[in-house]
Structures are given as C-alpha cells and as structure tokens.
Subunit: 809 residues, 2 copies
C-alpha cells in the first residue's frame, strides 16, 4: 500500500537498510511477544517447554487490540531519538494500551532498573508477565506505576491536551502522542486538537500526534476509521495540521513508511522551531501529525473458532479465551507466540540480545527514563514574593472596607509570573478578567497563535509569548495544566464555580493518579499541587441565573482520598493571599480554593489572616461576645460560617442579634479549611473531638452558614457530638435572576433568616423573641418587594458594615 496523499514528498520512501529493517522488526516482535505474554502467561515465559494450561493465568485480562501499534510507534521513536538525540516522551492514548508500552519500556531496561525483581532475564520476565492485570498488581492502563507515563488513559479523552501541556515552556521536548480512534470520538479530545493555536514554536516544544486508526472500539467501528479519506484529511487540515498517512498491514512496508514519515515530521518540527528561534518571526506553523492506519490486534490470530479476529473488534481485549478447557486454543496461542521467534530475540537467560538492545536509546534518553515523565526530578520551587506586601488595608475596623477578593490573587500571581517567567501558567476559560485576575496582564499576556487583527492592540491582551491561557474548554485547560505540573512546573486553573462540574471526571482521575503516586510509587518525585480557583460563585449570579448556580464541586472533592484533596474558603482577600501562598508551596495535592470575584467586606488584617488560615478554623473574638469576663465562657449560640458571602451574612446576623438581644452570648466561628470539620481519623486536617467541642461547644445550638449545599456539612460532621443541635444553611436550588440579597433570602442563608434560626433554637430569648422574629419577617418581605420593584438590592441593606469595634463593650 502506498503512503497516500502525504502533502509533502517524503525525503526517502525506504529509509531503512535491510539490516535495520530486520532489526527493528525483530525488536517489534519482542514487544508483541511480551504483550501476549503479559496477557496470558504465569510461567514458562520463554516457551522453553511446550505450553501447558497450568502456565496460563486463571483469568485472562488485558487488552491486545491497541498494543501492537503502540509498541510499533514507540520503537520508531527510539530510532529517531538515537539518530537525532531527541528529548522525547511518549503518551499512549488508546485505552488499555499498557502492554504496548510496558513491552518496550522493559526492553530498554528502564523497567528492571526501577523494579529490580522484574529483571532482564527469564525469572524477571516471568514476574513481569504475571504481575500484569493480576490481582494486587498493575493494571492494563498506563498507570503511574509505568515508567515514562504521565498519562494513564483510564478515562479517555485527554491524551492530546496532556501532550500539549507537557511541551509548554519545554522548548526541546517532543511528545509523541498516540491517539486512539475510539478516544477521538470524545468531546475533550475533539476540541483538544486546537491546542496547536497556543504553541509558540520559539518557546515551547512540539507535539507529534499519531492518530492510530485501528478501526474499532469495544464492539463498534470508530467514526474516524469509517469516513472517506478526503474527509479525514480535510478534518486535520481544518484543525490546522499537516496530516501524513501511514496505512497498511505488511510489517516490512509499514516499518519503511513509518520510519520515513516520522523522520520527515521530526525534521519538519525542528525546521519550524529553528526558524522561529533564529528569525524571531513567530507565526503558527501547520504542525505535522500522522494518521497511522493499522489492523486492530495486528499480528494476532486472524480467526478464532471461524470468526474474524485480527483487524476487527474481537481483538479488542483477549482474542482467545478458554485456555484451560480448549486445547485447540492453547495450541493456537503457543503457535502465535512462537511465531515471534522468542529464541531469536532473547538469549538463553531471557535477556534481549545485544544487537536488538542497541536499538534503544541510552540513559535518560530512553522514554521510560526521561525525567520529564517524572517531573518532580526537574521541579524548581516557585520564587514566591512576600504576600504581606500585597495585603489589603482593612482600615481601623473589621468588616468596613470593600475589595474584590480575587483581585488580590491576581496581584499575587502578577508577582509570581514576573519572578518565575518560564515556570508558571495561569489557565481559565475566557474569564481571567471576569474573575478579576487581570493584573497578571501587566507582566504577561494571553498566548494566541491564531490570527491577530489590528484591533487586538485595543484590549484583547493577546500576544505570541503570553503565559496566560484562555480557551473555552475547561477540559483542554485542565489537561494542559495537569501535565504542565506533572513535568515539574506550577500553575493555577480558575473557572466559574458551576462549570467546574464540566471537568468533574478529570478531577477524579487526577486525584486518583496523585493518590497512587503518593502511596504506591515511591520513585515518583513530588510535583506541584493542582491549584483550582472557583470563582463567580453561586451567590453572585444576578445576571446568569439558575443555570450558573451550583456549588456542588466541593461535594465531589470530599469523596476523594484525604491524602490528596484540600478545600479552602478564604473569607476575604488577605485570607485568600495566605491560602494561595500555602497552596503554591504545596506538593501532590489538589487544592480547591473557593473565592468570589465581586466586592466584599474585608475582615482580617494580613497578620490576623495568616494566623486564622494557619489554624484553618477559629473564633473571631472581635465578632463574639461570649468571652467578656462577665459570665462563664460557654456561649448561648455559635454562629459558624464558611465562605465569603455566608461570612458576611452570619456577621450581619450577629450584629442584629446584638441589637435585639444585647445579653445574648454569641460565639462567631469562621471556617477556612473545610476538612477541619471532619474527625481527625478521617482526614489529616480533621480536628480532634476535643478541639471541635472547644470551638463549637458540646451541646449549644450551632447555626452553620455554608457556602454550598447544606447537608455536605452534616456529612462532614457526622461523628461529632449532639448532631441535632447543628443547624446548617446553604444553597438549596432556589434561584433565578435574583439580587444577591434576594438569592440569600430564597435559600435562607441571609442575616434575617439566620436571626430567626437563632430565635427558634435558643429558648432563653423569652418574650422579646416573638417581636424580633416578626421584625425579621417584615424585613424579608420589604427586601424582596424592593428588589422586584427597583431591580436591585435595598441599598441600606447591601451597604451594611460591621458596626462594632468590639463586641464585648
């Protein structure tokens, strides 16, 4: 079969000498042999004796289908790494592709170096086979245990965004990214091809995508394998690539084609980079990409029991089962494996023969050993400015000055991006300015490699060399950032709170990755935490309405391993600075920070903020009057709150309570670190019961005003004493086009309803309670009427300020 429609002449159609071809094919035989061995064998790894059913695993798990094309691509990468001394890593997009990667990683020696018991001999190979997809050992995805992997591929859709994230600010790195044609049908993958509009050839490395059309998913053909050649070519030209086609099934022909095309692509990449780097003329190239059309389960059994297997969906997983009952299948398996001629590939001891061994690169040039794929090795700590210098002056009284909370973070990141010019990226879906982080533009713009217009001078903040990244795809952004971090760098992803749910599953997968690395893969070095800022919060969706109101991302976070997740609700700008500083220093976590972008009252000076955030939870003495030396310390009620807006409403309620019931002892507790609420055995941040009770008392009414869905708090505190006294307010899906106060009232997190909550729960308030309650209800009616008539909140309510310098007067 000819290389079809390659848009440029390939430099040489048969670049491999016969000897080279023979060796590279033999090396591929070794890879395929290992892949089959992993799936089937628990013993007799070199087939030194005739295969017995007792040597076959009891349960046949693992996936053959994608493996041969993966190792095929891997070894062609090896050839070019050696030839051009390339700095290259490999990503395997196709699901369950591990056998196609583990094979070459073992053959190049990396695997045995990291796992010495999987040595390069028969005994090691037997262990290597047995551990695969075997209970308690390694899975069939390219999991964190796999040297050289920073992309697991368990959940499909992220290989291309992951590939691009790794090459940002890594000018010499090339990521060869094999993309499955099944995966290509996912939304995240379909848009991630546009990542090429954000790659600066002078500053960033390059991705070489290899779309492997093996034609089938689990039980279906794939769309991209069943459209016309013209459509396929158009699609990738439309995505901005120059597609090269390598199609066929004859191994010898395919090796020559792949060798020629890959070399052409690598040279093209180098040429483009070279030109940009020498001329300084930075335009978007049409980067090369390869369409590799191969049979699914290539070189596997053609037919089993009269049914087509090779080049069909039936080779997706295990192409033949029943090894313990069907001698015919057992014989067929042995024939299949012997067809690769293991005796010509491995020596007596089971070690790859030197003539083949030399095909792999050496040392850190081996893709399994490349330090970019264990980014902690390369990670430099951020140079962090002293955030105290950026502190917001809160004036003489707490809660009187207003400031846009997230703006403080923007200022902080401006300093960070100035001091760490090639080591930090800020990513968000078209919302950097909307989320009030625009001060970063003073030091770096938004990167944009698509067309520029003269009017871009006038406020689009675009440039070819910016490090702020905006695309309306949360999937792509998070994908980029994940591997930017996994290759040893730093960053932050910010998004509208409600639409963080778009990437729920990516959060899950990254949390699982970190969890495994932390607990089971000691050779992986620590990487920067994935820092996520949720802004444009549920409580400030005046003009977006119900569809933009969803604080449930936090619930998702609580379900992942306490080893890797952290949740912060800084109540004001100084607290946000303190929290952010902590997060930027941390490693191996996912830190989720919830902070609104609108103007909010500022409560704590920077020193108070640091003290408060360091504890993560605490009594605000200045807002409490339970400890004024007149009566014992125990308050009548605890006003607890978590989140910027709930804090303001709880504080306002406390002020009203003070006016209405001057003798009522109120304790005010603010929560920054949500996991403080959890019992100490359940999360490393969890308070002991003793500490919890000393903050919240054992039995006093506690009115907890929460940013999110209220029963999340009940879930977190379920082990604490006297649950029935804990009354939680939060968002309960009551929303529309509402003013801030109206929305608070509808969900009963507002000051007036909180006062009513206290009245309903503190028996000693006596006869004054009824009147006060009535006043609160009237206030609510008045506020709603005002909002609906005037289209805005009643000013004197909104403009409320904390009225007391000290509660204990």
């Amino acid at each position: 079969m000819m290389i079809q429609a390659a848009p440029q002449a390939i430099s040489s159609l048969n670049p491999l000498t016969d000897a080279e071809l023979h060796k590279i094919d033999a090396y591929w035989h070794a890879c395929n042999y290992l892949a089959v061995g992993m799936i089937y064998l628990r013993d007799n790894p070199l087939l030194k004796e005739s295969l017995q059913s007792s040597q076959i695993k009891h349960r046949l798990l693992g996936h053959w289908g994608a493996s041969p094309a993966l190792s095929f691509t891997y070894i062609h990468c090896n050839r070019l790494i050696k030839k051009y001394d390339l700095d290259m890593i490999f990503m395997a997009g196709p699901g369950h592709g591990a056998p196609g990667v583990l094979g070459p990683v073992y053959l190049e020696g990396t695997y045995s170096e990291i796992y010495p018991d999987k040595s390069e001999d028969a005994e090691g190979m037997q262990r290597f086979f047995k551990q695969f997809s075997f209970p308690g050992f390694i899975g069939s995805h390219v999991t964190p245990e796999t040297p050289g992997s920073i992309h697991e591929g368990g959940e499909l859709g992220y290989s291309v965004s992951h590939a691009y994230g790794a090459v940002l600010d890594n000018p010499d790195l090339i990521v060869t990214c094999v993309v499955g044609d099944g995966e290509s049908e996912t939304g995240p993958l379909a848009t991630s091809w546009h990542s090429n509009k954000f790659i600066n050839p002078a500053r960033d490395g390059a991705v070489l995508p290899v779309l492997n059309l093996n034609g089938y998913k689990i039980a279906n053909p794939t769309i991209l394998a069943r459209i016309s050649h013209e459509e396929l070519e158009c699609l990738f030209k439309g995505y901005g690539y120059t597609p090269y086609f390598v199609e066929g099934k004859n191994p010898a022909e395919m090796h020559q084609k792949m060798a020629a095309v890959m070399e052409e692509c690598v040279l093209k990449i180098r040429e483009v980079q070279q030109e940009a780097r020498t001329t300084g003329k930075i335009e978007r190239p049409r980067w090369p990409m390869i369409v590799l059309r191969t049979p699914k389960g290539w070189t596997g059994p053609q037919e089993v029991d009269g049914k087509k297997v090779e080049d069909f969906w039936r080779s997706h997983q295990v192409p033949m089962g029943g090894m313990h009952d069907n001698p015919d299948h057992l014989r067929k398996l042995e024939e299949w494996m012997r067809g690769y001629k293991p005796e010509e590939l491995f020596d007596e001891n089971g070690t790859l023969i030197p003539e083949l061994k030399e095909l792999a690169p050496m040392g850190n040039r081996r893709m399994g050993s490349n330090p970019h794929a264990n980014g902690g090795l390369l990670r430099k700590a951020l140079k962090l400015p002293n955030f105290h210098d950026l502190a917001i002056n809160i004036g003489e009284q707490h809660g009187t000055v207003e400031f846009e909370n997230t703006k403080a973070l923007g200022l902080f990141m401006r300093e960070i991006m100035r001091d760490n010019p090639d080591n930090f990226r800020l990513m968000g879906p078209d919302e950097t300015a909307s989320n009030r982080l625009q001060d970063v533009y003073q030091v770096t713009k938004k990167v944009w490699m698509a067309d520029m217009y003269p009017e871009d001078e006038d406020g689009t903040e675009l440039s070819r060399d910016g490090r702020v990244m905006e695309m309306l795809s949360e999937h792509t952004l998070q994908g980029w950032l994940e591997t930017y971090l996994l290759t040893g760098r730093h960053g932050l992803f910010h998004t509208y709170e409600a639409f963080a749910h778009v990437v729920d599953s990516m959060f899950n997968q990254h949390a699982k990755w970190l969890n495994i690395c932390r607990n089971h893969v000691p050779w992986r070095r620590s990487v920067s935490s994935l820092n996520i800022l949720l802004s444009s919060l549920v409580w400030r969706q005046d003009h977006n309405g119900f569809s933009h109101q969803d604080p449930g991302y936090v619930d998702l976070v609580t379900n992942k391993s306490p080893d890797v997740v952290r949740l912060y609700f800084p109540p004001d700008a100084n607290c946000l600075l303190s929290v952010a500083d902590h997060c930027f220093r941390s490693v191996d976590y996912i830190n989720v920070i919830i902070s609104d972008k609108q103007k909010h009252l500022q409560y704590l000076s920077i020193d108070e903020a640091v003290a408060h955030c360091t504890k993560g939870i605490g009594i605000w003495d200045w807002a409490s009057n339970d400890d004024c030396g007149i009566e014992p310390d125990e308050p009548d009620v605890v006003m607890a709150c978590c989140g910027d807006i709930p804090t303001m409403e709880s504080l306002a309620a406390t002020a009203i309570l003070r006016e209405e019931f001057p003798w009522l002892k109120v304790r005010f507790v603010n929560v920054v670190d949500l996991f403080k609420l959890v019992s100490e055995g359940e999360h490393p941040h969890g308070l002991s019961d003793r500490d919890f009770d000393s903050l919240f008392t054992r039995d006093k009414p506690m009115i907890f005003n929460f940013h999110g869905y209220p029963w999340l708090i009940h879930k977190l505190v379920y082990r604490r004493s006297n649950q029935e006294r804990i009354h939680v307010r939060g968002y309960k899906e009551q929303g529309n086009i509402n003013t801030p106060l109206e929305l608070a009232i509808k969900n009963e997190v507002d000051r007036f309803n909180l006062v009513i909550d206290v009245i309903d729960r503190v028996p000693k308030l006596g006869s004054a309670a009824g009147h006060a309650k009535e006043r609160m209800r009237n206030k609510i009616i008045e506020c709603l009427a005002y909002a609906h008539t005037h289209g805005k909140d009643q000013d004197e309510i909104v403009d409320w300020r904390w009225p007391y310098s000290e509660m204990c007067e």
Copy 2:
C-alpha cells in the same frame, strides 16, 4: 462582500425583491429594537417621549453581542417556513442569546398568547422589556420560560447534540441550530458535529447548523474566527458537511445572501430526504451547514468613549453603561434605538404593523409555538409489555440462582423497542453488549451512517435503520436523549458508572431545566423522564482497576431538587424489571438506576420484587430471624444494605452470623429507593421518622452496607434518631486490579468485615465473639493470599449461596 467559496452555485444570488428586502430588514430592526429595549428600558418602550434616565433599569444586565445574528437567522427561517410550509424549530447556542430569540417570538405573537400580560401593545411591551434580566423574572438565556426553546444555552456545548436529538424519528422536522463560535471551542460541541453519522435521511429529520462567527467571547477572539478560510472550510468538510459561507456586515447584502443560502440549504435537505425516501437507497449525505460571519453586536454602537465596540468583544454584554450618570451615553442609547425607527415598525398602540406581522408564519408553524418544542403535547405513552412475563425464575430458595442483572433490562427493552418502533431510543457509549443489553439487537440494530464494510455482517450489529445509538461520547449521547425526550419521546442512556461523571454538568443542567418547568412553567406539558442506567459498577472492575472505580455520581444526584431526582438500587434482576417499568412510565424526573452487569445471585421472585420495589425499602423476612415468635420483635442488630453487591455481602454476613451466633436476632433490611432514607420533609419519597424507626429500630446497632461512598448515607439520614449507632460501609477509594472479593475486603464491605462490625457493636455476644473475630480475620488473610497467588477469588467463597430456606427454623 461575496459569498465565499460556497461549494455549489446558489440558485439565485438576490432572491429577495426590493419590497421583500425592505420588509425583512424592517422586521429585523424591530427585533433589534426589542433586544436593546429588553436590556435597557423599564419604561417609555416606544420612545414616544425623549428618553430619561429614570426610564432606564438600575442594573443593566443581559447580552447584546449575540442577539442580532440570532434574530437575523430566526426571521430568515420564518421566510422559508412560510414559503415551503416547513416544520421547523430554532435552537440558540450562543450564550446569553435570549434577546435575539425573545424579540422574534414576541413579534410573531406567541409570547403574548402564552403570557397575556406581555401583550402586543405598548403596555405589554413595557412589561416585556422590564421583566428581562430583572430580579425575580426571566434570565438572559433561552430558559424554559421561553416559548419554542428546548435548549437553554446556560452551560455551553450542547446545541448541536440537542438539535440532532430532536430530529431523530421526526422525518419532517428541521432544526435550525445557531452555534456560537465561543461554544464551538468546548469539547462536547467539537465532537457533536459528528452526529451527522447517525442521521438516516429517510427516517429522521434534518439539522441545519448555522455557525455564527461573531468573532469574540467575553474578552477574547474565538479560535474558529481566527483561522484561515481554507482551514475553516476543511474543518467542516472533514466533519462531513457541505459548508456555505454568508459573511459580511452590510444588512441589505447580508439579507440577500442569507435568503439565498438558507433556501439552497433547505432545498438540498428536502432533495436528499426525498431521494432516500423514494429510492430506499440510504447513504450518508454531506448535509449542508452555514458559516454566518457577522460583527458581534451588529448594528450596535460603533464606539463608546473612543473604544471600539461593534465587531469587538466589548459588545458581548451591555455595550454602554452609566446611563444614570452619563447624559452622553443616555443620548447615544436613544439615538441607537431611534435608529431602528420604531415609529415605522409599531403602530400608535405599540403593535407591530400588519405589513411586518405577515412575515411570520401562522399558528403552530411559528417556531415559538411549534409543538415539538413543548414535546409533552406530542408525547404518546409507551406501550409497555408485561414485565412479569420476563421474570427470572429464582428457583425454590432465595439467593441460589445466578443471572446477569442488566440482561433482564435488555430483554425488557427488546420488547419495548419491538412494540414502540419509532418512539424509543437506547443510547450508550459503545457498551450495549458490554452492559449485557444486547438482546435489543434482536429487534433493532445500532444505527450507523458512516461507511460499512463486508465484515460488519459478522457481528458489529450495525444498520442504517437501527435505533440503538453508540458513540464514544457521553456528552453527545446524553444531548441526543435529552431533546429526544423534550420532543415527546422515550429512551434510556446507559454508561459505565465511573464515567457518568463525564456528564455531571449535563445532569445538573437537565435537572435544573426540569425543575423550572415543573414549578414555574405551567404551559409546558410533562415529558418522559431521563432514565439513566449506571452499570459496570465500582465493585466489578477486576480488569479496569482504580480509574474505573467511582460511585460518586449518586452524590451529585442527591444535590438536585427532590422534585426531579430519583435513585434506585435494585438488588437483583426482578427488582430491576420492576424499577425499570416504573421509570419508563414516569414523567419529568431524572431516574438513575444502579445495577451491575455481571452474574449475581437472584433473591426475589417477581411478585416479591414488585412488592419490595413498590415500597422501595423493606425487611426481608426470609433473611431475618428477629420475628420468629420466640422473643419480642426488636432485633439485636439490623443488617441494612443498598446495591446488588452489598446486598450479597450483607446476606453472606448474615449467614455467617447465624452460624456463629444462632441466638442472635438479626433483621435484614434492603433499600432500593435511596431517598427513602431521607426525612419526609426533604424528599417526597422520604420515610416518616416513625416508619424509619419501625424498620431500623430507634437505637439498635445498624450496619449499613452501601454501594457508594459511605458518608453519603450519613448525609441522607442526618435527621434520624441515634446517629451514632449507624455504621456505614462503602467504597473508600481503596482499589486497584483486584478480584471482586479482594476489592470488597479492601473497602471493608465484605462479609467477614461486616461480621466483625457486628461483633464490635453488639455487646451481648460475649466470649464467643473473640474467637469468631479471629476466624473472620484469618478468612480475610486467606482470601487475599489466594487471590494474589491464583489470580482469582477463592471459589468456595465466590460460589457461596444463601444456605437457609428460612431463617426462623
């Protein structure tokens, strides 16, 4: 500007007469006038007097940028609907596009018919203006309150999949779907273009996508507006369309171009359909689509305060503010509005003049009144077979026969799809057979309009006229199904449990849509529930491992309004049949059914299953021994469970307890309907405290074995008495490549750990307890060792059957 590169000659380049052009442009002026009025005015709707700042809304909310192109397209649809008597509905993809849709819906009279106080006169117009983006009224998305809308567009990414879902099995329907260029960057949108590979021109209707390149998002250009014309054209050819380009800004020229191109497209659609329907030759056409390049904020202010606004991102939202402080802006607004010449468009009373009125279609041909956009009007109840006929015979004893639970649902759906051949679709990402639903293929195959190969005869189950839909995009599938339901039909979406998180945000948005319809939009008729089956559950991921283990979708569901969400965990196949029958009859809910695909023990006969599922929760007498007439009814311990696998383990634990402690009184409670656990005030299904206590006792130890994350149960029961006696087991992120029993043990939901839990919590077990506990621990060690040695569960454990015909012997 010329129509560029339209691949086919347009029949007439200037199809509109001068009179027609004048009228259509005037109609568009009216639309734009209304859009501006909605954003700015609270009074003086017809500008009969000079505009005063007091007539301007206090807060200017809403989005001008996308509106003009939306109404432009809408009125060109109107022209063709009238000319060809088309059955057409309109979808507005661009975010915040409501003003561009509300305008023409009001002008065609639909709005006033549905909302009589928004009458077609000055008074009605004033109310129509004021309500928009005004607290307590309607939002700036095309929310459920908008007549003709079945796509809100609050969260971006789903317009195209929604458009395609509506036309399935609706041969005469055309959906004109305006796609925003911002939205186009999302993953879900990027892959949904491939929906054209699933549309059969003989049987289904057609989608006419109109990609509106207005160039900008909130603060950025869009990718598709900044690539070369050649790339853009290639991209859509690659997606399988024939793109037509309508580009420019001169209204007169643009009207002519749009009229010509849209007519060409509609005729092309009709021709393609006609040919397929008359010849029976069903191939995939290259459906037409339109690229409409217009300035953002078209016809709005060119500049404000010296800054470019029209055709720039600054016209995204409100192009000018400060109306109450800046007389210049106020004057400019008045000029802008008067530029549309309202006095020539509306008569003295504020009614659109008859010469323009006649441009809109009549009655149900108006897109705001088309019944497809209020699908409950068209909905026919499913013809449901008697599921008792499909019952699984459970033999003489409970818990002895094994069956693949979801297979029963496949049989049920086979019957449904046979009896409702044009009214039910089954959708899943390449997993219909994997999830054991393949019996549906006996009556209908998977629809596939891409290329077919001879080998497809051999088991791919593809056909041109199938109604099973598989694509590896959960987003696209759920999008299709949502509008298939909203247009009055029925269906089910099934997916791997862990990857339901991929569409978390779509679940949220659909739940919000249903919630608003149910509680605030009385004219919307009930539609079929969105039925979601989660299979391939967390507990059976032997070969997929940790990345595929996530039961947290259920947590997400619990956060949405109790009016619209339902959760079912049928423990066996007969219960699944009963639950499914209930779900298929229901309306206006999202029903989530969690049921595994592997072989499981069968517990209940079909009559028992119906009785049990109707209650939703209940004591299994045959597994309990607390009510045998010997002692009082109160048990010593309650073994509660929810989910198929937890039920088996709890039952096994109960059997062990019976052997170890024959005198221990155990009550066995199974939960099918998870919301039964919630207090009655919190969910319509919630049990009263009295009923809860009568099932679970008030204070006895309760060992709750749950399918998902354990503390979800604590969250649900937080109001129940004596929480501390409720001990929950569930998945806690402990997983890898594990056998089923090993995974259960790691997460402590297995029989042995449950017995230990009982021993630890029931004091009266006395000295026997210590020995029993030791035996359990040994059993655990033995099982794990066996799994790691043999690669499978210990057979005698896995093959366990319920040993007693009756617990009270």
